[in-house]
Symmetry: C2
Subunit: 284 residues, 2 copies
């Protein structure tokens, strides 16, 4: 399917993708790029990549597929650094958790003969690095592709096929809709949980080690606070428009619940809790 692929950022997502592409013989050669040589060494040792390079100017020749898997803020600037070495016909894709700003950045950046297909496999977790890469990560998960009017149809089909072959359910969505969806189902929960863990840390009760009470439920609930802080800083900033709207609405709603709790509006409170209970039961 592809001759030579560069993976920029060999972490959980791109590392796992590489494992599957190799196993399924969808690519002949895989070259890794990253800033951490120890991570790339590990990826090579694990057979995820064939070789690697550490500086953008060392980008190899003959690459027909470039997959950008670095933090969202770096995807456009790093592609710009690779650009002098990109050959006509090369397909560029990405796995960033935010799409609108990346799609617009690439649209401005890339010449006509280098095509971009934006994507987001929804299979992330709080794990990271090549050590977290594993086969079949995408099976049963969605990969959202977010083409715009100018996206090359043939390249889109090729990238969609690639994701389907590694087991993902491919969905097509507008980049801004994607950002609204992910803002609510992923970015908002991350902010809430980071904030909750800090709320715990700020609560000082004499003689009580609050953390010791957090085994079990609270620990499960706050698992996503173990996600990498700098990645989530970037995701929140890049998706600040959609996330800001969701977070603003959420705060207003919390204020209403807080008033109802303070004023003992039991019936209103129960109605809201019962609605959430019913919605939760509908989640497949």
């Amino acid at each position: 399917m592809f001759e030579k692929m560069v993976l920029a950022g060999v972490g959980l997502i791109c590392g796992s993708l590489a494992c599957d592409l190799r196993r399924c013989k969808l690519v002949r050669e895989i070259v890794g790029y990253g800033r951490s040589e120890s991570n790339l060494k590990l990826a090579k040792k694990k057979g995820i990549i064939d070789s690697y390079f550490l500086r953008p100017e060392e980008f190899p020749g003959g690459v027909d597929f470039l997959m950008m898997g670095t933090p969202v803020e770096t995807i456009v600037p790093l592609t710009r650094a690779f650009l002098p070495k990109l050959e006509p016909g090369c397909i560029v894709s990405d796995v960033g958790s935010v799409k609108g700003e990346i799609v617009r950045g690439m649209e401005k950046l890339l010449p006509k003969n280098i095509v971009f297909v934006a994507g987001h496999p929804i299979a992330g977790s709080e794990q990271w690095g090549a050590q977290a890469a594993r086969e079949n990560l995408f099976v049963g998960h969605r990969t959202v592709l977010t083409p715009i009017k100018t996206t090359d149809e043939k390249a889109l089909k090729k990238v969609a096929t690639l994701w389907r072959k590694v087991g993902a359910d491919v969905e097509i969505m507008h980049p801004d809709v994607h950002d609204q969806v992910l803002g609510v189902i992923s970015h908002l929960p991350h902010v809430l949980v980071y904030a909750l863990v800090n709320a715990l840390e700020r609560t000082h009760l004499k003689g009580v080690d609050l953390k010791s009470y957090c085994a079990g439920g609270f620990k499960d609930f706050t698992r996503i606070a173990s996600s990498r802080p700098e990645l989530w800083r970037d995701i929140c900033l890049m998706n600040r428009k959609a996330l800001g709207r969701s977070l603003g609405d959420y705060i207003k709603y919390l204020e209403q619940l807080n008033r109802w709790i303070k004023n003992e509006k039991g019936a209103l409170l129960e109605k809201e809790f019962a609605r959430a209970f019913a919605v939760r039961a509908e989640i497949p």
Copy 2:
């Protein structure tokens, strides 16, 4: 240890306790009380209780231990209904998730010869009813007992021993401190998750079934929204002082994060996320 015990509310907590007390031969006879006869029938069929009654005035004679496991708002009023039938020396205890108001209510209600020991086994989940009862539910979990100055020392020791014998780690705490702790680690997360699920329901994106994106992480994260709405209404109302304070602080903190996201204060945001990451890593 006890001759005859009445369990008011044979659900996950009291049902499981009954299983263990019987297995460990800590009580000779267990009588259930509740409003749902089908639940009590099931409890009897499962061998959790020996018999049951449905009206407070049918409270049996010879009871030396009454365990209140009904919703928090009903614990004091129902004890009041049982009071004419309670015999001198009977120990009353409870498993309510809120303690201050219950302790104060019982203090006012009970005569000197009926002693109350307030407790809260932190082993709840979103499951309920006798069908959820199981052995060894409390092993490795804390049971917080919240005596006050007037609490009978001997009864306190007896109730503590009971919980230790079924595997719980017993901790002594002031009722108001308990309510602050649980407000932060349990009641606040429940409100946040109910609110998050409703935020999802209120977000309408044309052509997108948001719920279909919620398998996996979001579903795990929102498991507690499957808790019984009416129970949590009562818990929130009864702990409205401590919960209101936690929720108010949390809202202010979210507003700050939202401002930082909008104004692209990446360094401040990363610092907060990194703090949460570090705190989360310290949870045992």
